[in-house]
Symmetry: C2
Subunit: 180 residues, 2 copies
Amino acid sequence: MLTQEQITAAQTRANDYLQRAGIVLTPQEVGKIEVADLGLSELEKTGLCLVIYINTDRYCAKELILFPRQTCPEHRHPPIGNDPGKEETFRCRQGTVYLYVEGEPAANLSAQPPAGSENYYTVRHEIELHPGEQYTIPPNTLHWFQAGNEGAIVSEFSSTSRDEFDIFTDPRIRRATVVE
Amino acid sequence: MLTQEQITAAQTRANDYLQRAGIVLTPQEVGKIEVADLGLSELEKTGLCLVIYINTDRYCAKELILFPRQTCPEHRHPPIGNDPGKEETFRCRQGTVYLYVEGEPAANLSAQPPAGSENYYTVRHEIELHPGEQYTIPPNTLHWFQAGNEGAIVSEFSSTSRDEFDIFTDPRIRRATVVE
Ligand SMILES: [Zn+2]
Ligand SMILES: [Zn+2]
């Protein structure tokens, strides 16, 4: 749950990040920046901001903005009908992002899961992305990510996005933001 | 036809545009910037540079760099098998781009087709894009575009890209660049 003030403040802050990176939004787009706290009401630790440029029945493009050490919790994009599940490419544009996916677990993690939610972060294969670096996540594959100390801007290129069907490891999570 | 020197010079110039806009490429990506003169050997007038971030069998994302008044010639993305043809979204990131598609022709064009090739520019419905503005082109729809006086950077988000099947109005055009 977020208040309208928290949402507006996060939209402004996210737009500042984008402007500093030279990424221009129209005023209407700034007002439509999605602020997601995943229902955990700890936006500073868990959540992200999203700009959805386009989402057709064939492809999707977004800009993700993460504040310092903010974490997008573990989830996967399951098959839906004859859609095998969203395939997505994350390209770091600014800052550093630590991405974790299924596979060989890292010895020690560069990013710690949010305190109190550790049990819901089960995949540990680490991919560190700096500006210009990218990684493609296959459909139906568990992943989570966290920004470094300066936050991060990540472009997401993908097949059609149906966020409402995302499956989160943490059962407390509700994908749609509730405004107090 | 382009010489290797022309290609390298265009890659460097395109990367300068990107850096000034805050868009970071890895050194490998700079070396792989595609320089397209469409076989007309008049790169300053007709052609563009492309960075292909990702092109899977489901989606594609590119950055297009246009030098001042450079024109990408009229073409369409035809159906291929059960693919209805590439659907693409152009989002202007920097500068100005004049996009022309099928539809109500503009009274007077903000962009003039390259001298000597006017006959091969048949669609005249004008869409002017400034940073933050975008337009989605349906499959199999004729379109061409030209940068304003300061050049332009345009993000292209689309379904799978199969450039080799593009159909250009100008019969002289050869999509694959030939290096002298
Ligand atoms: Zn995801
Ligand atoms: Zn096109």
